[in-house]
């Protein structure tokens, strides 16, 4: 394994172990950074060590000891140095990574700080990379990280896996961060920005790590499945010109079959969780789409039923909208249209867009054109606007 792969896979785990040992975020980060730099300088000429992870942990620990020794108030740091020298572990401990994830996603930290801290510490992304991904100035993001680390220290945010009674709530917060990272990357792929597409990969990596660390929990499996199933279709969501391609028109041969198989296999396990998680239900819906050989073979009846369940878990007009579309495809366009009439989403362009699409399928072109115009008045994304304009032209031509 080369060094950059090792960095991707092991950075967060090694850092987590170091933070427990040195009990200081910044010191652990600096020491690990230096250890990786030392590896970059030494391994190519001397050859990689037999156990690269152990080498990195040991080197980082020594770097941390050097740092502490150099500090002016050396006498007050004696205890810490003694503590560090006493630690001679050479492997990462899964529990450490889990502790670090729960610390980074602590609800006492602002949501954007949780995301930044998670990407910085668990994923090992640089401050510049994260800033670019979220389209904020590097200085802003650096400031966000500094504030978050200060709060961890001054407010006494623990470096611990929460106990049983708090685990569900805290796990929700962790999964929300992961899903946010994924969605940021997923919607951004319209911009054809590769750095942002990387966020999907980081989110999936995080999802896998959490599933591995909390094997009995069902909710992370649902989220991982959902992300894999969406990500499998990423390449076909836009054409060569960056224009949107709808699910029914996507080239299914371009879907990542391995990711679909992996995601679909997780769905039944995720659905066993109680209370049923929204991720599991959404993953089940995504699996039905992904496994249909053609758009015509889609099991809309089951999808409509799953949206019915989802409305019960997350009562939201956007879920109602999705359910109405599924009902239209399963039971008849008019029935779907009737459901759409009862949804109140005054500023959401997808509501008139969905109505327009059903009217178009029904051949009611004049009404469809009116609805497309309403959608165009609300849409903000360029690729989506172009798509609606294309459809409007279709239903307007005689």
């Amino acid at each position: 394994m080369n060094l950059s792969e090792l960095h991707k896979r092991e950075y967060g785990r090694i850092l987590a172990t170091l933070i427990r040992v040195v009990r200081d975020f910044d010191l652990a980060e600096d020491a690990l950074q230096e250890a990786f730099e030392a590896a970059l300088a030494q391994w190519p000429s001397e050859g990689p060590p037999q156990n690269p992870v152990a080498w990195l942990i040991t080197t980082a620990r020594h770097k941390a000891i050097d740092h502490l020794r150099r500090q002016v108030m050396a006498e007050t740091k004696h205890d810490e140095i003694a503590l560090l020298i006493g630690h001679d572990e050479e492997t990462t401990v899964p529990l450490d990574a889990l502790r670090l994830i729960f610390t980074c996603c602590h609800p006492a930290l602002a949501s954007d700080a949780q995301v930044a801290l998670t990407l910085r510490t668990i994923c090992g992304l640089t401050t510049e990379e994260i800033a670019r991904a979220f389209l904020v100035p590097t200085a802003t993001l650096a400031q966000r990280l500094v504030r978050a680390k200060n709060k961890i220290r001054t407010a006494g945010i623990p470096y611990e896996v929460p106990g049983n009674s708090a685990l569900a709530e805290r796990l929700d917060a962790v999964l929300r961060v992961v899903y946010l990272v994924f969605n940021e990357g997923f919607t951004a792929t319209f911009g054809a920005d590769l750095i942002r597409a990387d966020l999907c990969a980081e989110a999936i990596r995080l999802g896998r790590l959490i599933c591995e660390l909390l094997p009995v929990e069902h909710e992370p499996k649902g989220l991982l499945a959902l992300m894999l199933l969406h990500d499998a279709r990423r390449a076909t969501r836009t054409d060569a010109n960056g224009a949107i391609v709808l699910l029914e028109d996507q080239d299914r041969s371009g879907w990542n079959r391995a990711a679909i198989a992996e995601g679909a296999a997780l769905v039944p396990q995720a659905l066993r969780g109680r209370p049923l998680s929204e991720y599991a239900v959404q993953a089940a819906i995504a699996a039905l789409h992904a496994e249909a050989p053609t758009a015509r073979d889609t099991d809309w009846r089951q999808i409509a039923a799953l949206y019915g369940i989802l409305v019960g878990i997350v009562p939201s007009p956007i879920v109602e909208l999705n359910r109405a579309v599924a009902v239209a495809m399963a039971d008849g366009l008019e029935q779907g249209l009737a459901l759409l009439d009862n949804i109140h989403l005054p500023t959401y362009y997808l509501l008139p867009a969905a109505r327009a699409d059903l009217l178009r399928r029904l051949g009611r072109h004049a009404e469809a054109a009116t609805a497309y115009r309403q959608a165009l008045a609300l849409v903000t994304n360029d690729a989506e606007r172009q798509f609606l304009e294309r459809r409007l032209a279709e239903v307007s031509s005689p």
């Binding site: 407010a155 006494g156 945010i157 623990p158 611990e160 929460p162 708090a166």
Partner: protein, 119 residues
Amino acid sequence: MQYMLLCYADEAQWERQAPERIETIMQEIDAVVQDIVRSGHFRAAGRLQPVASATSVRERHGALLTTDGPFAETKEQLGGYYLVECKDLDEALGIAKRIAATHPGGLIEVRPLRPTFRG
């Protein structure tokens, strides 16, 4: 680590509560306080008189100004505090949640104390 739990509430709404309801809330709070005394977390607590009783003293350009009222008019007012000794924020939040749960609209700001007065 010591944490101050600052309890805010809408005084007007509090005063509209039936006396029996307030009695029930007080009993629930008493139970929480007895628990945290027993567990060793409790350091101090107090309830403040309504903001109508507040007087503010302020230094301005070398002069000392005394005015009627709280320093800021807000929808919710500081109504009391608990000082607790906890191992970390999660423990303090656990206590804050139990107190906040005793009455509707309860809001508690949890603030760590600096380790020393000067530091």
